[in-house]
Symmetry: C2
Subunit: 241 residues, 2 copies
């Protein structure tokens, strides 16, 4: 069944008027008609059944029915990722949604060339991926910041799994016995981190340096592998939570 994210509050009987793009998708692309059922979520109120009550190509109206699942929130995991080429960054955001990150924080490092990201577009990609992957809480895409500034104000109690291309213990060994709670994963730019950045990271108490195997990984692969290992070791893939 189609899952659609809407910004509106969701409650039984509430009327929902999706915007023009969503209306076109539902009626012209997915060919829904009056009486068709879809699933709605808004990141706050859980997942609801809704029925199409007006089916014009430009204006679709829905009425919210019953609650399917109450709101669930995934692990408190931030993916901190150096700004990489647009296509690769979009892939990383899509995969962060599939793999259960709570938010994506793009960062500028010393070896990052790009200095901006289209946050609105990345947020739209995250929402679409959340619709398809079945989660109720699309990851939030944060405005890019400088890595040094992010580390200056690093949140107390949030651990940081640092994917260190210059070496470290295997990620599963490093994560063994570590619990859940607030975490972040740091993925560097294609050219790697600068030695001063590496030294600073290694000196921080919150930081857990890990290795992602013997081969050189592209940034998107490293991000997916790191999120997978984190979820499998301490996140919601453990079957213990």
């Amino acid at each position: 069944m189609i899952r659609l994210f809407v910004p509106d509050p969701l409650a039984a009987g509430a009327p929902i008027a999706p915007g023009p793009e969503a209306s076109r998708y539902l009626i012209a692309v997915m060919r829904l008609a009056i009486g068709s059922e879809i699933q709605l979520f808004n990141g706050r109120d859980g997942e609801w059944r809704a029925t199409v009550v007006e089916a014009d190509k430009r204006r679709c109206r829905l009425t919210v029915g019953s609650l399917i699942r109450p709101q669930e929130t995934g692990p408190d995991l931030t993916l901190v990722v150096a700004l990489v080429k647009r296509g690769r960054l979009e892939t990383i955001v899509e995969k962060a949604a599939e793999l259960g990150a709570a938010r994506v924080q793009p960062v500028l490092t010393r070896r990052t060339n790009a200095d901006r990201a289209n946050v609105d577009r990345l947020q739209a990609i995250a929402i679409e991926a959340a619709e398809q992957t079945g989660r109720m809480d699309p990851p939030r895409i944060l405005e890019p910041v400088k890595l040094a500034k992010l580390l200056d104000g690093w949140e107390a109690g949030r651990r940081l799994m640092f994917c260190d291309e210059t070496g470290g213990p295997p990620a599963l060994d490093a994560l063994a016995g570590k619990g859940g709670g607030p975490w972040a994963i740091l993925i560097g730019p294609e050219g790697g981190f600068d030695p001063e950045e590496i030294a600073r990271l290694r000196g921080m108490e919150a930081v857990l340096p890990v290795s992602l195997g013997p081969r050189i990984l592209r940034a998107d692969t490293a991000a997916i592998s790191a999120m997978t290992l984190w979820q499998a070791a301490v996140g919601d893939w453990t079957g213990r939570g």
Copy 2:
């Protein structure tokens, strides 16, 4: 330094004449000149230094210098993957090279719509990814076969990690204590496996059904996550050899 795969035998002093496409890449794109050094590998003879001795845009010639590393062979892992859309299959092949699979076996399942793959193009993608990821043994891309036929002749002693969307133990729990040796990973089509296929797989002694977490993953994400967990649990990311 540039790494180039060549089909030729490699030994000190051997002359190498890359084809027109590789020559153009080295001279016109990477701007190598006479005296420039690159690394060569062929999947059999290890990794070698080589020096440019002729630098015409259409015809580059190299002479092999000294051995850098003797031939290394990665784990004996076959990625068995249902034929999915071309772009996604190309991504999967690229990631199989980065994540150390020995070969990729495309399969036709009951819910697979496609019935062919451009094996030559996929092999070229695997070689290019091997050049960039630093490995000496590009994965071999096999001709597509029907899943049922592959299972009929399943190789004795090769275990099969079956990523079962209908449920199973967490992959890390299932892999705990399992050793290396010949393995395969099976990734299904976007629409999932047919119930009869699932029943057959679950009934095979070689098969280890595993779950990849609570969210729905696209085929490329599932392939990357599965290879990552396998490498981290029993492959060459364990740090145990």
